[in-house]
């Protein structure tokens, strides 16, 4: 394990040495956690946008099946040839975009943004550390992520195209689709998993070892706790998927039968394999990661929202300890709920009762966290700036997402709702207006720390209100569609199962299918709503309102007690932490906030 490049150098000398390396050394092959955080952030935002573009194209096919896609139809035809003849999206291309939308959003956009970007940028600053514990491993972690992203992108352009078996890649489907898309997917995933594992080791070691003097566990900001638990989830949940990925890769490349049962027929013929494998094994190993992954997505957002809520209500967070213990509880229980994704695979009553029970239990800590945050608002003189608006919107949006998950956690209601648009609406409420709003709040909140300038409030508020409205217009109708029985992953938006085609019993009504158009229009509106953000993001780098102090939000946590932007090594002298993270409106204090390293 290599830790740091220059032990004996003085801090100043180290910094000077760092500047000598030129552009490549400073911005590309940097081992500074802030630079790596920004690399992660920018890359992840690009992937977030790309993943969104995929779904926008798919939404056309859902709303207006088998008509040429306007604007990008020609481009798709040029890139994918037969898969998009005359700009019409074929079912194969639809599957490909669907699988890659999920993969990109989860593994290349949200996790890197929540964990890689915000974790890297903020965690060392908040605990008063000079850098991550293993800076060079940190750099390698980003490079693995970038390489994984490149492999995923390249897979679109290979003959046969990218993976088509959904982001869950269930075998035997995933192993028997011809073409190399799935192989690329698996190689990409192994790289991404490696990146996450290295990142997780680094984060946990940093939080355990590099807390500044006086920064006891119960003085850590909740955001750090959230990242700590996230780190453990990644560390322990990803390896089983890595194992499963290696086995599926062997199925694909070495023609083994880990996940292929005896007697498997492909295209009407008996497959030339030894058989004896178990398709359910893949599902178990996948969801062993898949469910903790949900909390990997949501916990960092909860952490960001907590920071912003405390800062803008000018009050200590209500129930800090409950938040901490709840997040630890979520971390533990999230490892033993995974098979609630598999009720329909033919599980016995005992085991499904077990998983129902743990699923219901895990909703308790989530509700505690949400309740604490709501109560924190009580009686505060709230500052409604853009980060706070996003943070406030997170609370009900995540609430809707969480509560609509309960019917999916019971096996009897899940039988009806499984694999319908209801599921899509449920987890998108958690991740899109939930996590992404939390992350956007973080972008607006910490932007001044990184650039020394604020983002525009006007553009920010336009961005917020339009996004909030569009998000709900997109996902609320999907609950209805799902309850009406519309299945996900149908490339014609359910037209094949309409009343017109299959009759009134079991058919989808015209009104339900008509909602597809409405949702698609809302999705494209959401894209337009992101324009103010994109403009704001780049314009403010050089034109935003300048900060007048290092602590423009009057915050208590340590990341605001450094120069702006923080130099290499972060702090000019080691901070001595003397108090908890949220000493706002302390009676008797000269101002309404007391930073963690200040004795009133």
């Amino acid at each position: 394990m290599h830790t740091t490049t220059a032990d004996t150098h003085h801090a100043g000398a180290h910094e000077a040495h760092h500047d000598e390396g030129g552009f490549l050394k400073k911005y590309v092959f940097s081992s500074d956690h802030k630079v790596i955080g920004i690399q992660y952030g920018l890359t992840a935002l690009v992937f977030l946008f790309f993943g969104f573009c995929l779904i926008m194209a798919m939404r056309w096919q859902i709303a207006y099946p088998n008509t040429p896609i306007p604007l990008v139809g020609g481009l798709l035809n040029g890139l994918f040839g037969d898969l998009a003849t005359k700009g019409i999206m074929s079912p194969d291309l639809y599957n490909m975009f669907g699988a890659m939308h999920g993969t990109i959003m989860v593994f290349l956009a949200i996790v890197p943004l929540a964990f890689g970007a915000f974790g890297n940028l903020i965690v060392p600053l908040q605990i008063g550390a000079p850098d991550m514990a293993f800076p060079r491993i940190n750099m390698v972690s980003y490079q693995c992520y970038a390489a994984g992203g490149v492999v995923m992108l390249v897979s679109f352009l290979i003959p046969g195209g990218a993976a088509q078996a959904g982001w869950t890649s269930y075998s035997p489907l995933a192993s028997t689709i011809p073409g190399d898309g799935q192989t690329f997917w698996l190689v990409g995933m192994v790289l991404l998993i490696t990146s996450s594992l290295l990142g997780a080791v680094n984060f946990i070691a940093t939080i355990i070892q590099l807390r500044a003097p006086g920064m006891t566990w119960m003085r850590m900001p909740f955001f750090v706790w959230a990242q700590f638990v996230t780190g453990f989830l990644l560390l322990l949940a990803f390896p089983p998927l890595e194992a499963a990925g290696l086995m599926q890769l062997a199925d694909k490349v070495l023609h083994t039968s880990f996940f292929l049962p005896t007697g498997l027929a492909v295209g009407g013929n008996l497959a030339n394999i030894s058989g004896g494998g178990s398709p359910l094994l893949w599902q178990h190993l996948f969801w062993f990661l898949g469910h903790p992954e949900v909390y990997v997505l949501i916990l960092p957002a909860m952490g960001i929202v907590s920071e912003i809520v405390a800062n803008n209500t000018r009050k200590p967070l209500w129930g800090y300890k409950s938040l901490v213990y709840s997040s630890l509880g979520i971390g533990f229980i999230s490892f033993i709920v995974w098979a609630h994704h598999m009720y329909l695979t033919g599980m016995g009553t005992k085991i499904s009762t077990f998983f129902q029970t743990t699923t219901m239990i895990i909703s308790i800590p989530s509700v505690i966290i949400l309740t604490c945050l709501f109560i924190s608002l009580w009686g505060g003189s709230i500052r409604f700036n853009t980060p706070m608006l996003f943070a406030l919107a997170f609370l009900p949006m995540f609430g809707i997402g969480g509560l609509t998950g309960l019917p999916l956690g019971f096996n009897y209601s899940d039988i009806h709702l499984h694999d319908t648009y209801y599921v899509i609406a449920h987890f998108h409420y958690v991740v899109a207006p939930g996590t992404i709003f939390g992350l956007l709040a973080g972008v607006y909140y910490w932007y001044p720390k990184v650039t020394g300038r604020f983002m525009s409030e006007t553009l920010g508020k336009i961005h917020f209100w339009l996004s909030l409205i569009c998000m709900n217009l997109i996902f609320m109708p999907m609950f209805l569609q799902g309850m009406a029985g519309m299945l996900r992953r149908m490339s014609d938006g359910g037209a094949m199962y309409s009343v017109a085609k299959v009759g009134a019993i079991g058919g989808l009504s015209a009104a339900i299918i008509k909602l597809n158009e409405f949702v698609s229009h809302a999705a494209w509106m959401l894209a337009l709503a992101q324009l103010p953000f994109i403009i704001n993001f780049f314009w403010s780098i050089s034109n935003g309102r300048k900060v007048t102090s290092d602590n423009p939000w009057d915050a208590t946590t340590l990341e605001w007690q450094t120069p702006t932007p923080p130099p290499h090594g972060n702090f000019t002298k080691t901070p001595e932490v003397v108090r908890g993270p949220y000493d706002y409106s302390l009676p008797g204090a000269p101002k309404d906030f007391v930073p963690q390293n200040q004795t009133t």
Binding site: P261, S278, L280, H284, F288, F332, I336, M342, M347, K350
Partner: protein, 105 residues
């Protein structure tokens, strides 16, 4: 561990040799049991895994110094053990608790 004195080290070295021979003896017993062919499969599995577990504890405990490691490491490894057992037990349970009419696994 940096607080080891020369005397402690000399004592540990003896321990390492002891563990080494214990591991060899364990291996010999396991292989011996294999060639004798115990009467039941369950017994063979039990003996082999029991000895392997003891060997595992010896390596982890003495070679990796887990026996006098810090609390933090115990915490990390204990939670890992919990999750790995959860993964094994729950998947095996799920695979065996099938509805009576299911024909596929």
């Amino acid at each position: 561990m940096s607080d080891h004195s020369a005397h402690d080290i000399a004592k540990s070295v003896k321990k390492y040799w002891f563990v080494f021979f214990a591991l060899i003896i364990g291996t010999v017993i396991t292989v011996g049991a294999y060639f004798i062919e115990l009467p039941s499969v369950a017994l063979t599995v039990a003996v082999a895994l029991f000895i392997a577990t003891i060997k595992g504890f010896l390596v982890a405990g003495y070679f990796m110094h887990l026996i006098d490691e810090r609390k933090m490491i115990y915490g990390i490894m204990a939670s890992t053990a919990f999750f790995v057992v959860g993964l094994m037990v729950l998947t095996i349970w799920a695979m065996n608790d099938l509805p009576p009419t299911t024909m596929f696994k």
